[in-house]
Symmetry: C2
Subunit: 410 residues, 2 copies
């Protein structure tokens, strides 16, 4: 929510749903820029070494942003003639563990909220925050408002959880790369997880995981849609993330093309092929808090093998340094080589589970475009390839066309 004008529009939209007979619980984020403003003030004052005590105060500080926007939304709802009440996380309460700045929700008490709903009120609950068992305020980390909304929907056993974002749904791929990209009317939970983690940054992945765990039907839709559009039209807009494998899921083999160019490739060459080398290499990387994505180990030749993986580009130099100085000598490996100019392109689809030849079709189309595949990684519902960064758009467009994603779902 940005200005008071935006808050007023949210209130009108919520009032429309409520007047149509729905019991409404609303979980707003902070006004835009507010969380950054607050954390900026903290940074100006920040202690040299950040202890847990510091993170506790950061949460105390950041939580005020959602408390303010929630109170303002309740006021705007009252101005619309709706009875409304706002609650901070601790008032519900939304109980979390004590991991300040990245807390996990443990339970939500729905009694107070249910009583208000029964009394005809619209209930506003602060997103992003909760309270631990010692009454300390906690926050869920960036994007936590989505997670809060899903958690509240799960606790209330809501009919549907509507997430209003700055996009109007989940697309077959990024429309900036493929203008023919189509909005998906439904997408399965598993596909959504792959799409989110692979770069279709529509929803925080934690909120999707949460929705999956509690089977909360989740609809992603646009906050820019005029508040006064027909409610039946709005109810069908956006993309519904589902958890039931109905027959419809069987039809589309591939739902979307995900991609990112945030990663870099690193290979350790000439590694003696004996038990434990994966652990020796990746254990050292993990100990340095570096996250690894695609991992490939080639077949052995002459008792030696090559071991490759990708990391975030920001971690590239540090990882190469670590491997060169410590791991290669310890392993008796040959050398470390790497490449930052790569990208990862994935086809995602729950239908791949039961369709053979989907990966082969992907490889064929890339080959027809003259694109060399450097690494391959597969799972039940996605196939990813690492290729030269310069071919990214070409690959995405070719695959989008090859899997008929520009055609309306039949």
């Amino acid at each position: 929510m940005g200005s008071t004008e935006r808050i007023r529009n949210v209130a009108k939209r919520v009032a429309k749903w409520a007047r149509a007979g729905h019991q409404m619980v609303v979980v707003p984020s902070a006004m835009s820029g507010e969380t950054n403003r607050l954390l900026g003030l903290a940074k100006e004052l920040a202690p040299a070494k950040a202890a847990a005590a510091y993170n506790r105060e950061l949460d105390m500080l950041a939580a005020t942003g959602e408390q303010a926007s929630s109170a303002l939304l309740a006021i705007a709802l009252q101005a619309e003639g709706m009875e409304s009440v706002s609650y901070a996380g601790w008032q519900v309460p939304v109980k979390t563990n004590s991991a300040y700045t990245k807390a996990r929700i443990e339970s939500i008490d729905d009694a107070r909220v249910r009583a208000d709903l029964a009394a005809g009120k619209v209930v506003v609950i602060t997103g992003f925050q909760g309270v631990d068992e010692d009454d300390n305020i906690t926050t869920l980390g960036r994007g936590g408002s989505d997670t809060s909304a899903v958690a509240v929907a799960a606790a209330m056993k809501a009919h549907e959880c509507l997430i209003y974002t700055d996009v109007d749904g989940v697309y077959t791929t990024d429309p900036r790369v493929v203008p023919e990209a189509r909005r998906l009317q439904t997408v399965s939970f598993e596909e959504m997880l792959e799409m989110a983690s692979l770069g279709s940054k529509v929803l925080q992945i934690r909120s999707v995981e949460f929705a999956g765990k509690y089977k909360v039907p989740l609809r992603v839709l646009s906050s820019f849609t005029p508040w006064d559009i027909d409610i039946h039209e709005e109810a069908k807009s956006g993309t519904l993330i589902t958890f039931e494998e109905d027959e419809k899921m069987e039809q589309a083999v591939v739902s979307g093309i995900a991609f990112n160019r945030d990663e870099a490739k690193i290979s350790v060459l000439g590694v003696p092929d004996k038990p434990g080398i994966a652990y020796q290499i990746l254990g050292a990387v993990a100990d340095a808090n570096i996250e690894v994505d695609v991992i490939i180990q080639n077949i052995s030749k002459d008792g030696k093998t090559d071991f490759s993986f990708t990391v975030h580009r920001n971690d590239y130099a540090r990882t190469v340094e670590l491997l060169t100085s410590k791991v290669v000598p310890a392993l008796g490996a040959q050398e470390v080589v790497g490449d930052t100019k790569i990208c990862k392109v994935s086809i995602v689809g729950i239908g791949m589970r039961s369709h053979v030849g989907v990966a082969a079709k992907m490889f064929r189309h890339l080959s027809e475009e003259g694109i060399n595949i450097q690494m391959i990684s597969t799972s039940e519902i996605k196939t990813s390839v690492v290729i030269d960064e310069k071919y990214m758009e070409l690959a995405v467009r070719a695959l989008h066309r090859a899997f008929d994603l520009d055609q309306p779902a039949s």
Copy 2:
């Protein structure tokens, strides 16, 4: 507290006190301008008719200002190397009644705070706010941070409650009117009450009443004093408000000269002198929610009397209209006259109790300056006169000199 620079200075000052061996509880106000900014947003969205539900949300909103500044102060204290923790009102808890936007503190639980102090932490508690018995956030109204500080000091049985303000203490009168005005080293609680209500707007009167009720020694001192001045010097700076009538109190007959020009005088002339007229006049005024200050009833002549009182200038026209249209006809009084160009000047001093002739001395000096006295009102520790507004500065200066207030206390 204004900028992060100001917050850092507060932290350094608190750290200085703590390092000198004091257990410290700090009650900050919101960053300057923040409460107005938040309430301004609410006003933009405000419902047509403000219900109790609206006031609840206003408190929810406004309380975020102090929560943010408290967290920032705790962070700044940590940056200074102090262990520190901040608590919102509900976390202590500071229990209040449910009168949103003007709640009264009912109790403060000191257990959590004491445990932190014993563990060597500086405790920061949000000012201005509390929580009612149903876990709703409440605020104490404007200036409520002072009241919070005093209440916390009372609950903790603090050695002293230091209130840092934008003035460096309580003066014998306003230095803008009398350059020779002197800072009082001590002032009695009763004098402070009179000074505050008569216009020396140093502290919220509620906080002084609270201090009196719980006998919390209260020191008013300047937040503009450099944080690194010698701690013994700072401990003696400002003005200490005391509750014990020690011998020192006996010495100064008059402690200060208060004045204001916010009032207007109204007289009902030719009122039949019979029982109940004061009630008939002032009852009607009180029913209209108009506050009355000085009240004078002249002696009766020919069975008629004149009845005069002062009200705030903003209420003048409304009061005259009310009296003329309703009260004068009902009473059979003659007419209503009034004057907005008046001021009230008071001498305040606990020593007046045991000294005769203090009021007479006041009247003599005003007479010597050719100032006509329109109304007189006295109490045990103050004597107020209503005079023509144009003589205000002259009267204040003459009285300040007459009672030797420009001389250091002996």
